[in-house]
Symmetry: C2
Subunit: 199 residues, 2 copies
């Protein structure tokens, strides 16, 4: 009987399938330079994927890849929202955790990347597919925050507006943090949201 060593498997995880590598490489590149700033050959090279693989997995090429990459990146944001609000004892605590996690992410990257949805879908070709998908993903983030707001006691008639306000503050705050190259802009966001909801 062949013995498997769990530690070895953990330290040497099997390589991701080509399709996943393409999606992750594209998401990172689009986020940092926008849809129009990235060529297909660059995605293939970063993903260490053979040339024919792109159209095999994404028949419409770059635009299909952009839809998949933005969905993958958006799922990461949904997990960040869940990880911030699920252990929180109140909504305000969840907002503080989320903003601190975002600030940490901002510091860990090149501080010049953008929102994975807007960089990928807003700067790309203005097709109905891109527009509809952008709306679907943005509304998904807001719905997830609204769900936690209700669960954590924000009055039902304020939950949606609060979630939208947080979305706008995070988007605008990220732009200001980038312009000033200061992640503290993100850490200070909760105060602006909280005073608003304490009416």
């Amino acid at each position: 009987m062949v013995q498997t060593c769990q530690d070895c498997v953990m330290s040497n995880p099997p390589p991701l399938p080509t399709k996943d590598r393409l999606i992750r490489a594209a998401a990172e590149l689009f986020r940092s330079r926008g849809y129009n700033g990235v060529g297909v050959s660059e995605v293939l090279s970063r993903a260490k994927a053979p040339k024919g693989s792109l159209y095999h997995h994404f028949p419409n090429g770059k635009s299909d890849l952009a839809l998949a990459a933005s969905t993958w990146a958006s799922d990461g944001m949904l997990r960040l929202i869940a990880a911030s609000f699920e252990p929180a004892e109140c909504f305000d605590d969840g907002v503080v955790t989320l903003c601190h996690k975002l600030a940490k992410f901002f510091d860990s990257k090149d501080m010049w990347g953008g929102c994975p949805i807007t960089s990928t879908l807003f700067e790309g070709p203005a097709t109905e597919d891109f527009r509809a998908h952008a709306r679907y993903l943005v509304d998904g983030w807001i719905a997830e925050v609204e769900h936690h707001a209700r669960r954590l006691g924000v009055p039902a008639n304020q939950a949606a507006a609060t979630a939208e306000h947080l979305y706008m503050l995070v988007q605008g705050g990220w732009q200001l943090a980038k312009a000033r190259q200061q992640s503290d802009v993100l850490r200070h966001l909760p105060a602006q949201l909280n005073t608003d909801r304490r009416q």
Copy 2:
């Protein structure tokens, strides 16, 4: 004596100099598709400018043009801020006017354009020149709003934070308006800022 007809001059204004035509064409194109989505030849064609004129007026080519185009577009935003707050009787009225003007602008365009600063400078090459210029322009907008906030009676210790909050709401609100293709998102921004300042 040759008579000049003022009406004729008004309806047939002299053409803009080449440099100004290049700047305006670049600003519009960068705003709608991002720095990386626009080629130099497209700017020349839209500006109806001869090929050699770009490097004559902008020795470093596209990147120089981006700095000039974002400054020109930013000046337009500064005029919009002034036109909103100068006739206002209180700061809140100025915010309402500004948000309504932005919503009107959003409706009058293709509803898919971006912020002239972030589309031009954040998506471009991540050089120090671009970063420093983005910060300079963004801080200019915030300083202009802060000036009017103080003039219109917002307490001195709240004026800067209020101006930053409005900047973030407008940036984030524009993204949400784009995602939903609804300019009303912008018209509803004042409520969120105002309740915040009434603490």
